[in-house]
Symmetry: C2
Amino acid sequence: MPSSHLKPLIVTVLGAGAMGAAITTPLIDAGHRVRLWGTHLDDHLIDAVQAGQPHPRTGALLPESVQAFRPGDLAAALDGAQVVVLAVSSVGVWDVARLAAPHLGQAQGILLTSKGFAADERGSIQLLPQTVSRALAQAGAADLPVVAIGGPCKANEVAVRQPTAPIFASVEGAADWAAWATTANYRVAHSADRDGVEICAALKNVYAIALGLADGLSEAGPQPCHDLKSAIFAQSLDELRQLLQAADCDPWTVLGLAGAGDLEVTGLSGRNKVFGCRLGQGQSADQALSQMTALEQTVEGVPAVRLALTWLNQRHPELIGRLPLLEAIFAVVWEGAPIELIVAAALPTPNSLTA
Amino acid sequence: MPSSHLKPLIVTVLGAGAMGAAITTPLIDAGHRVRLWGTHLDDHLIDAVQAGQPHPRTGALLPESVQAFRPGDLAAALDGAQVVVLAVSSVGVWDVARLAAPHLGQAQGILLTSKGFAADERGSIQLLPQTVSRALAQAGAADLPVVAIGGPCKANEVAVRQPTAPIFASVEGAADWAAWATTANYRVAHSADRDGVEICAALKNVYAIALGLADGLSEAGPQPCHDLKSAIFAQSLDELRQLLQAADCDPWTVLGLAGAGDLEVTGLSGRNKVFGCRLGQGQSADQALSQMTALEQTVEGVPAVRLALTWLNQRHPELIGRLPLLEAIFAVVWEGAPIELIVAAALPTPNSLTA
């Protein structure tokens, strides 16, 4: 993307949930013309926005100049759009990319805030940028650069201009995209290691379950478990490093905003941490999940850990048995294993002691 | 250290503060005979221990079999000691090592829980393992291996057997030392990168001030600053990586228990975090420090950031100007600069945007 693209562009955000709504603030602040399109799941959110009320998920008002569009108005929302931000849930990425494909004639690139893994029609697990590119190709649309957005970005903070350092990752031109979106409070770093950033982004919700578990043990017990939370943190980073190395990504990505930075924020607050916290306080995974589901709180780390293990089996079977924390989280969440398995997986093992 | 040293040994802990007292628990659990010697600053602590009361700093009872010794009984405390744990404050390391030197005839090694930098008699800043070795040499004692203990270890948690993953770092034999000290709850990792572990340990208190600052801003404001705390976390790790690379250490140490792990726990609780929190809530550095001093709460990160910058000027002047967060913390703490300097230093800069 040439630096001439520092000029204001027409941006359409697809998905009016928390992050879709929130990112309109820095985009407007950076001088762009911004539209927000809601899926069929977002009608009540668009209602609130059009009524001038705070967005129900972030609690913040959107910038006044944001134009809101409803599901039936996708063509109008994308008419002349020069940049598209894909901000739907990971399970919606394929469908929404297909829907958008015929209307991307003016688009120069796609920014992707959705995170996670997705299965293609043959059950093969992919990272979401690949999912987007495949969806566009299948729909006969031209190939477009896909820029993954990672790093520690809470939607409620981005929406009200709290200082935030996201990282834009793109095979080419990441620095230009970062400069194009940067404001005083939304200060965008950049990386060429898109797959590495995506793997970190997809797995942070999984490891945050274990971080939350330590918080739950702290709250339930007479003594804090800060040492344990920190050991879990270090073990998570070590496993991410192994994953990135196996996937031919830059392992140093783990040390930066996309890895340690995003894991830190995901362990501070959010639903995955809360789910883990409930486990640490003594709830079973089934109990915790059903209670949170009743509160309309989806826990992305739960499906993500299953997809991650499937992905691992498909792409990197050599790592099976070498990521004890990831496997322990899967066993606790999906197989009813006791939480002590997670504690044990986070601590140095007799093997590592004598290595 | 040969693996025959897995056998129980006589261990003397020098320094009866929080960590000195706490480490007696895993050492007893690992089967060793443990003595605890208090400096002239520790009389009230030894009083409590000898009276069978909880240790005033950790709130925990010591294992019954720990023998307590007073300042005048150093020779008796060290008589036949096979391992010495040096657990005094960083400013006391030189003097206590000199005092102990004549009594180390049976000693096979020194474990060092003290962290930080120390100035030698010519004002040259050193890491503490070097300080210990120089003190022993000056006193005419035989050279002994010095094992640095890093990683996330809160004394109050170690004392009551909360799960903890420290890391023992030694130029040689670290794995054997780790195995020698490991228990079910105190699970010791190991590293040959002793200087890298020490640099991380010395600087985590400094960076924790900035992490606490974000917490203070969260508490003082209407919105959390979790994104900022996480950006500070990632920037801290990046600066530690630069420091380790400049010092010919293993930069991957930063990703593990000694780096990210210890920084995580230091940002969760403790005096350095609390000091930063006060800054974020609006106190000046002078106000915060004098109030904490009145509460007998020393903030190690305050002298440490000055020593760190002196060390940098002496050893790695090429890094001056490349560690903006470290320099911003120094300016805020020692020169009265506004806290916004720390916020700005943690976020991606225009330079990094166009790199």
